[in-house]
Every structure is written in structure tokens, then in C-alpha cells.
């Protein structure tokens, strides 16, 4: 291993002063965005890593950003959040910081953990994910002047602090337009837990776009999971039992779409041949199942990058930014074309 890169070397390579490099690390809001981006690029190219301990002493910061892992159901995983965490870890390292992982219960009970981390100065701020309706964390942190950025909306009137989220409605709108262009006239929707905002948002994308395309929009084409433990297979069965069943099933997530695959197999219908099926999340399963599943990919790297940018200007007026996800067309919808009317 060669000697470590110094702050002076970064300044020389970037053609800026030591103070500008220092600001890029400790007070990025003082720099113009172009300058900040330039200095960060040089920091990365040279592999410069500030001495976080020394920085801690100078600026009384820990160099750590707290991130809560909400315990999943046993056997369950949220692959998308795992990808986000990986991207986030790499992003905060660009300014010599790291992620401190912790666990906390959702809701008010978990706030004690946030309080403890702040009291012990273990972290300088937080990145929030797995937001809930009326999530208490945003207001609690904002009131205390703690820097944070939320990945995910609270879906209430007020959204304290910066927020980055995925525009689920526009993702589903793209799916519906894709299916309409293949001649589908009756497009069913499989949703989870109706009356949660994320599902409602995706249902809205389905309704509005079917409407725009002059397709049927009615509740008989909408099936959502209920407390009764219904799953994607049951929802698909409901819609397939209609006298004039839909020719395409748009699911609010990949797990529901794969549940629909099971029901289609039981009826000897092949996804992508007799009926189109689409998912949402572009989970690893989507690419490997047979037939491969058309899905919607969330731009995880871009989201993580923007979250960290906003964290550095956490005290500026709150913004909410939505990213448009990307339609990934695969076998479950690609080849199926229906004749015109």
C-alpha cells in the first residue's frame, strides 16, 4: 500500500484551495453545486479518505449517518431496500462518512433509539426509509434540528424535511400504456392492502391511464389483498372468474404477479402467451422465473445519490422529489399482441 492521499493533493488536483476541499467534506452547502461535484469527483479518483477521528474532534461530528433496519418478517426480505442501503453506503463514503446501522420498532416506540443515538453523539443525522402514514420520526427530528432525509413519503399534509420517493403512479401508467399498445382492452389490477397510500398511488396510475386510453375502468377489474390472508393467486382467480376476464394482469408488486403465475398454471394458461402479466420492483425473481416477468425498476443509485446530496443541505427549505421508475419489458408481456376491435 502506498502512502495515503492527503487533502493537499486533492486540492492541487482539483485546482481549488484547501478550504474548498474542506468545505466539500464538512460544509458542502457553502459550495456551488458544480464545484462540489468537481471536488467530489477528484476525491473519489484519488481515493482520498479524510481522517474521520480528527474530523470528529474538529467539527464535533461522528462522521456517521444513522440508518434503521426495520426487522422483516422471518423469511421475508425487501431486496429493493437492501440495494438502496448498498448504494447509500457507497454514496456517503464519497465524503468520508459511513453508515451506522441500528434497529428500532416502527412508530413512536422506536423514537427512543433515535434519541439515544443523538444523546450519545453516535450519529450526525439520519436517512429514513420504510416510512409509514403519520410516521412520527420526521416531525420529531425536524423539531430538534437534526439533519435527515427521508426516502419515502409520509403521505400526510405536512412532510417535514427533504424527501425523495419513487413515482409509483407514473410507473404503473407506463405499464398500462405498454399493454394498451399491444391491443389489450381489459386490464385488471392486483393490489396489496388497499387504502395504504403506496397501493392507492399505483391504483390511481392504473385508473387514470386506462381512462386516458379509453379502456374499461371499473372496480370489478380491481382485486386487492384483504385481512383474510388472500394472496396473488386468489386475486388472479377472482379476475379470471369474470365472464369476460381481463387479458392482462397488472400487479402492484412482483410477489403478487408470481402468485398470479401459480393461478395461471393451475388453469393451464401461459403468462405471455394467453394472458399478459406484469409486476413492480424488478426483484431478482423477475428476471429468472419462466417466463421472465415484465416489471418496473426503481432507480436505486440515483435515489441514493440524491438522498446524500440533500442530507448535506438538510437545513434548506424542505423539498419532495419524485423519481420516475423504468419499465422493463420481458416475456410475460412482450410477445402477446391482441387483434384490434
Amino acid at each position: 500500500m502506498g502512502p495515503a492521499t492527503t487533502l493537499e493533493e486533492v486540492a492541487a488536483h482539483a485546482g481549488v484551495s484547501r478550504q474548498t476541499v474542506s468545505n466539500a467534506l464538512n460544509a458542502p452547502e457553502k459550495l456551488r453545486p458544480e464545484t462540489l461535484r468537481h471536488v467530489r469527483t477528484v476525491i473519489e479518483e484519488l481515493g482520498y479518505r479524510p481522517d474521520t477521528k480528527a474530523r470528529g474532534l474538529r467539527t464535533r461530528s461522528s462522521g456517521l449517518i444513522g440508518y434503521c433496519l426495520v426487522p422483516q418478517q422471518p423469511g421475508s426480505v425487501n431486496v429493493f431496500l437492501d440495494q438502496f442501503l448498498e448504494a447509500l453506503t457507497a454514496e456517503v463514503e464519497r465524503s468520508g462518512r459511513h453508515i451506522l446501522l441500528f434497529t428500532a420498532e416502527p412508530g413512536g416506540d422506536g423514537l427512543k433509539v433515535y434519541a439515544d443515538l443523538l444523546a450519545s453523539r453516535a450519529v450526525d443525522g439520519f436517512v429514513l426509509s420504510e416510512t409509514q402514514v403519520d410516521d412520527p420520526r420526521h416531525e420529531w427530528l425536524a423539531t430538534r434540528g437534526v439533519p435527515f432525509v427521508s426516502f419515502g413519503r409520509t403521505w400526510t399534509g405536512s412532510q417535514p424535511g427533504h424527501c425523495v420517493d419513487v413515482d409509483g403512479a407514473s410507473g404503473i401508467a407506463e405499464v398500462v400504456r405498454h399493454l394498451a399498445s399491444h391491443g389489450h382492452k381489459r386490464i385488471g389490477f392486483l393490489g396489496s392492502h388497499q387504502q395504504t397510500p403506496v397501493t392507492d398511488d399505483r391504483i390511481r396510475g392504473w385508473r387514470e391511464t386506462c381512462n386516458e386510453a379509453g379502456l374499461e375502468v371499473s372496480d370489478r377489474l380491481l382485486a386487492c389483498t384483504t385481512a383474510k390472508g388472500e394472496r396473488g393467486k386468489d386475486l388472479a382467480a377472482k379476475l379470471l372468474d369474470l365472464p369476460d376476464p381481463p387479458t392482462a394482469l397488472v400487479a402492484a408488486n412482483d410477489a403478487l404477479a408470481l402468485g398470479a403465475y401459480a393461478e395461471l398454471a393451475a388453469r393451464d394458461l401461459r403468462p405471455g402467451a394467453e394472458i399478459a402479466v406484469t409486476g413492480f420492483d424488478d426483484s431478482p425473481s423477475a428476471a429468472v422465473v419462466t417466463p421472465s416477468l415484465t416489471s418496473v425498476r426503481q432507480p436505486v443509485a440515483e435515489i441514493a445519490s440524491r438522498v446524500v446530496e440533500l442530507l448535506d443541505v438538510a437545513q434548506s427549505p424542505a423539498t419532495t422529489e419524485l423519481f420516475t421508475p423504468e419499465l422493463i419489458v420481458r416475456e410475460s408481456s412482450a410477445e402477446l399482441n391482441l387483434p384490434g376491435p
Copy 2:
């Protein structure tokens, strides 16, 4: 929120001295295992959280354990490691510590990051995962007296430090015994990257158990991915093209098994009806694909718990402990019974 639990309250509830509670947190190797377990249970029951900053000053420790997220291929994930990280985060919190996440290149190039974290006293030790053959980290850390535990073997003669791993050979042995009990006589194996130790270990489990059960063991029943970009689908095709193809395909991971599903679909063969298929890892896909996939589950919570126990006695003589994974029988193998000879 009520007032925080104090160390004195923990001592009173546990019926031990303040010093014993303190040792449980800062010098667990001084306590008998039963005592340590008892005090930790009380710490958890009362929700006691030591002030990590104060502890840092007293013991010059950071209260943080470093964990490296090796960047995955874009779009790729290792769900099993994500589950491990979640369990690990919860485990280290039982003694008031947290995980510090960082990224580093595999191999010698990444050691600079470990050196920086130690130099800045950002972490007290490391949990290693994604080990490689001739992984340089173990020797490097051991030489410097840095506490660490490895999840995964280095597969070389020497294994410095404590190591916990999954016994892949015994997992595959269980799969083969399950298939043999259903009357299968020719069991093919689909492996990834032959001549990596993890695959070799699983192949050994297949060979030895087929041998024990009096079944054919020959290289013509073994298909492994090569540098040519072959995938599960191609491997399955090779074995199905044999004049007397196997009646069961044992895959070294779930992705290969799902690739085999695609080849079977192309040949109008149903997994679990005309031919048995099994995977390894029990990824989320395994339970949701049609038909659901028999797989092998690694005991992630137990592994994380043991890793943290060993971290607290990192200076004791090195041990390597193997956990036996669990066979999860699903539709792809459950119902298919072959007639006797």
C-alpha cells in the same frame, strides 16, 4: 418515553454486581458463558442501552463493529447476506454496540479501507463475510491483534481467527437422501464455477451421498457453469440430452434451479411432475415460483448469534464451527415418487 434504564437497575434485576454488568458490556471474556447470557437477557428485557460515547471515553472503544458490503453486480443481490446483516445488527445491539457499514474491494486492494478504519479508531473489530480463497484479511487482522470473526471459510490450510460457516456438503447430502427415498436412481448435479471451494464442497456432498445410497456417480451427471457464460438453463439441457437423463436435478443454488425450470418449460416437462428439481439458499423466489422450489435454508439467526459470541472472545484460540442447513421440501420434489427397480 420514560426515563432510560440505568446500569444499576440491570445489576439489581440480574442479581449481579455493577462490575459484572460492565464486564458483560466491555469485557465479556471475563464472565462465565451462563452469567454472560443471563446478564444479556436482562439487558434486553429492560431495554438497557449503554451510553456509547461515555463508554468510548472510558474504554477507548468506538462501540462499532465494521462490516463490509462488497459491491454486487448491478441488478444482482445476495439476499442471504442481507438477512445475515439484519440479524447481525440486532445481535450486536444486545450489548449496546452498532454496525458500521463500509465498502471495500475484495482482496489486497481493500485492506487500505480496513487500515483507515482502525487508524481513525472508527471500529473496535470486524465481522468478515464474502470470504475468498486466500482471502488476505484474516491474516492481516490477526497479525495486528484486531478482533474479528469470519462468516465463511478461507478454504486454505490456515484459518486465522474464529470462523462460522454453513456445512454445504451436509445440506446437499440431505437433498440427495430425500430424493433417494422417493425412488430416484439417477440424480444430476448443476454447479456454478467448478473448482471454487463452495461448489466443490457441495459436489462432494452429492458424490458421497449418491455413493452411500448405491446410486450412479459419474461426471456425465455433473454439469457446471464455465467461463462461456452458460447458465442453469444450458446445464439442465446438457443433462436432459443424455440418452438416459436423470430423474432429478440437484442445483448448487436457487438461481441455477430456476434456470433449469426454464429448460423444462421449453421441453414441456413440469418440475415436480415429470422430474424433480431442488435448489440451495431458500431465496425468496423459492417459495413463490410455480411449482414452489425445494431448497436448503441456512440458519441465519443462529449464525449471526454465534458470530457475535465469538467476537467477544476473539483472542481465544481460533475455532471453525459449521452449521447444518435445513432441507425445505416443496412442490418441485415432494410428490414425485418413482417405482422401484
